[in-house]
Symmetry: D2
Subunit: 346 residues, 4 copies
Amino acid sequence: MFEVIVWGASGMAGGELLRILSGHDGMTVVAAVSRRSPGKTVWHDHPHLRGCYPDVVYSSPEEALKLKSDLVFLALPHGGAWRIAVDYRERGIPVVDLSGDFRLKDPADYSRWYGLEHGAPEYLQEAVYGLPELHREDLVGASLTSGVGCNASCAILGLAPLASTGLVESVRMEMRVGSSEAGASPSKGSHHPYRTRTMRVFEPFRHRHLAEVIQEIGLPEEKLSMTMTAVEMVRGVQMLAQVFLTEPIKEAVLWKAYRKAIEGHPFWSLCPARPSHLRLPDPRFVLGSNSASVGFVLHEDGKRLLIVSALDNLMKGASGTAVQAANLMLGLDETTGLLTSPLYPA
Amino acid sequence: MFEVIVWGASGMAGGELLRILSGHDGMTVVAAVSRRSPGKTVWHDHPHLRGCYPDVVYSSPEEALKLKSDLVFLALPHGGAWRIAVDYRERGIPVVDLSGDFRLKDPADYSRWYGLEHGAPEYLQEAVYGLPELHREDLVGASLTSGVGCNASCAILGLAPLASTGLVESVRMEMRVGSSEAGASPSKGSHHPYRTRTMRVFEPFRHRHLAEVIQEIGLPEEKLSMTMTAVEMVRGVQMLAQVFLTEPIKEAVLWKAYRKAIEGHPFWSLCPARPSHLRLPDPRFVLGSNSASVGFVLHEDGKRLLIVSALDNLMKGASGTAVQAANLMLGLDETTGLLTSPLYPA
Amino acid sequence: MFEVIVWGASGMAGGELLRILSGHDGMTVVAAVSRRSPGKTVWHDHPHLRGCYPDVVYSSPEEALKLKSDLVFLALPHGGAWRIAVDYRERGIPVVDLSGDFRLKDPADYSRWYGLEHGAPEYLQEAVYGLPELHREDLVGASLTSGVGCNASCAILGLAPLASTGLVESVRMEMRVGSSEAGASPSKGSHHPYRTRTMRVFEPFRHRHLAEVIQEIGLPEEKLSMTMTAVEMVRGVQMLAQVFLTEPIKEAVLWKAYRKAIEGHPFWSLCPARPSHLRLPDPRFVLGSNSASVGFVLHEDGKRLLIVSALDNLMKGASGTAVQAANLMLGLDETTGLLTSPLYPA
Amino acid sequence: MFEVIVWGASGMAGGELLRILSGHDGMTVVAAVSRRSPGKTVWHDHPHLRGCYPDVVYSSPEEALKLKSDLVFLALPHGGAWRIAVDYRERGIPVVDLSGDFRLKDPADYSRWYGLEHGAPEYLQEAVYGLPELHREDLVGASLTSGVGCNASCAILGLAPLASTGLVESVRMEMRVGSSEAGASPSKGSHHPYRTRTMRVFEPFRHRHLAEVIQEIGLPEEKLSMTMTAVEMVRGVQMLAQVFLTEPIKEAVLWKAYRKAIEGHPFWSLCPARPSHLRLPDPRFVLGSNSASVGFVLHEDGKRLLIVSALDNLMKGASGTAVQAANLMLGLDETTGLLTSPLYPA
């Protein structure tokens, strides 16, 4: 069993890491770190985990840094995670950093999209973008891996096969996101009377995760936009992409591109053409699982296309993919600890 | 007081008509018609109306046809409503038909979008499309008025001012709809365990209400598409339109077009530019009211535009607009019975 | 038109007062007071009210105190409201204080249930408990009126007719409450991912509103308990009371007691015995209205009884009843501004 | 691997059995039976299971009856399940019947609570009530096992330790249930616009599952009642029991009774006394898991008690417990396939 440490364990992605790792055959959690509440029982924040971690209390950062471990997960805010990541990296301990600090290759992009100068730009090239569906080989044995943006991973897995056709004129992504995306801290916007059943369009064109999409699918920014709507879900993100192609395409070509891209990936699946009501994925169908599901419909004019993708933002959009990447880094089977089927209806 | 009859009173739009009319100073309901349950108390189906209609029972169609009345509302399924509409029309009693039977001017359009031959095509030209914001003058004194499609009215009120600029290259409408849109009859798709919190994309390009949008805003079908998503709301429809313009526009020009269009309409409003979180409307902000609210954001390239509109599908999208039209037909103040403010948070 | 001032206008009860008063024929709002945001447009907090109050900005407390007015509503936290109430009272301006400061007659009760010494105990006897269904005559012309607790009013209207029978052995009230009950300030408990769909039993026996119930229905504390559960609603409170009687009662006696109590009250209604699925009220059936609805079922042993009552906590449980009381204080018709029918389904 | 057949596979409990068994190391599904849709792919009804069962189609009853198997699950309606159960039983194939047909020992009870004569009363004594927490030893090697009622199991696990004290004067159970309890067939009551956010009290005293509680905890009917409320959840049942004791009890005695009862049971847990907000269980904390969680608070008078229990009705309340029982019947470890941790927040 590899021994791992989870930083940011009191947060939502941290809690999800603890949940996944409680049923993982190849890793065991030796410390759950929380700066604010060292000594407090972890299940006070994560009441569903009382059975799995009846006695585990949060470690302080100081205690954690003294512990031996085989890998470290950082579920911390961007802007500060890089410091701890670099510290571990320099001591030779592999790191998966779920924050945005190591997602973008170009420090100028980081400055632009995050509004901060990066403190360790020399590591950006080395860090692997931790989406195994695109970077599996680089992840095997990697030392420094970035987690993925939840919206970004949903968009990338929905669009990468399309981008490979070279026929994209424009893609207007419409992301619908659940309330867990904003994390564990309350705010006016997340206050239940205001947040429930909302259809709040909170970003018209350019969510920060767009930067990852541009980088990973290789399309220029001017062809892309990412609109955000907060909807009534807790977990889940769904992309509905309105696509124009530069020239008409045959549906069979699209099927081929998607089938080829998805083949061999345990957590990336393509919706069937039939029955029609299951052709485009609902986030509910992957709730609690590590699956990303993609579907599309081509307009009869061959140039207009609708692509829909869906995943559980805490699983495939964050902690699930982080564990999947860590499995590869440690030489474990990629699917270890991640084969739970979706919970439906729930 | 004008005496009116409500057909289809056991359904959802019918119930909403009864609710509005219970507080209307110029009309009184002399019969609530239900084919299936004549003699049954109306509040058995509409428990919230027990206070307003403690003793009213449904009339049978036969009874209703014998009654004198000043105006008739038909909240019946399309395909059958036209027969009753024509009957009243020929007897000189004004009709507001909420079904789709008199929305489209061209019988060929009706055949194409509804899959039926129209039984009274000679009345299509005479019938007024009952959206006062576009046809107020025609409605004054009209004899045969069509109600509006809920999605159509949301789209038309969001896009008509834009269409007037003559600069539209394409509009991809994304409609998000609540469960009341499907009416009062249960189905697998509306079964709570499956319907709740869904993000079901049930129509990729061409919802039937698109036909009304084409007709009313005067843009050709090839520039438009209408994608439908069922979301977790009961009441409410929201359009999020991804627009491309043929050439860059100045934001001030857009503001002017929208302000001009909306001016003088009591139930059509434009969101302010500030604060930014209220720039694009949430259906929750108009819940229970007859208001349609519209907002937009122009991309800095001047060619990409996001337009969002929202309304309560049972009010402004159906029964509210029907009463508004009826007010005009009968020479009443347009706003009579419709000035209830939205209920929020709810 | 009477001129009124609303203190605490940025909160949830304050917003609801503004909403009701926007459609009130006998009162007009001359100032909406907010300590935190004077000068800010009121619809920034209450986006649904942009149409009614397009230009109204919050007044500061200092400004408000200088204004002439005919009546003042205080929607402020307890512990501070009494000061302002007394100030207005001493200047001869009638006050409706929605806080808990003037609900209890005995200062010792206030200390016990609120954990504070009361600053103006000499006014407690004078203040009228502002539930017109119990104190209508005292409200006519009153100078100082207390608003009601939302849970308390639901319980009192459900139980007062029963208490009058003199046969109560025990009543265990189970209150189910929506998220708006906690007001407009976010907290961990109201954070959407945690609050949504919860069934959080947050008080086992003795919610603070129990004090009002004891006082108003005249049953001793040892016969009563009030359990609280937070449930998935925004608006709404429902009481489910498990009652034991000291001796068997005939159902007809109960019907008589309830009918007699409720007779003549425009906002207090009794559910019918038939159909059985409408015998016990759902808060949804009174959403947005000022109605309280009550139903009961007697066990065949004649000694076990289930009583269910429901209301909209922001309307009949707070601002609606406050306006109803103010109508009486000012000599207006009790129902002025309050006759909106419930919104259903919503 | 034991080979098992699932009857009623297109329903909700059937789908949950398929989901659990897809990750079960000791059983494999050789047939998923559906009378209505033989030949149809199972994931058409259970879209979340497309990954687990990409090619499995429903078998007809006739096909299923010809297959060899080691155990059979019946997720069929009561009144018809017994026939198939008896058929298998007589052929020596162990059966777990999730319907109500074999829950009650006394045929007169079956007639009374189900309104039917039982077709095979001679098997009622032999059938084991399949709640391992009460009947583990009887289940080892059993041939005919009854599944449990979801509300009944929630109540029994909440109350059995209390009943053992011999001090119960009365227990009024208030069950709050999610929409999945009613199964996969749509109805007016489950129609989303009406079902969502309801607080529908649909049974005042005596839900059918009360019969199981009486039988299993050994308290007489006159001390018990079971009120039902449909609430906004899909999965989940919570019991809130208002208890009166015959004489005051010390809290330590209660803790001892509950700890003793629960000890050694992998899926039955007791909430801690601290922190207070986690003292009484929310169904959300066990969502998707096979855990039942129980908490209580004793009033300071020592005679009034509040007991709250919660479980996932499709798991511990139906299919999870059925698999747990089957594990024991087949000599497998009781927890096989059932150790998934709860999904939260979701």
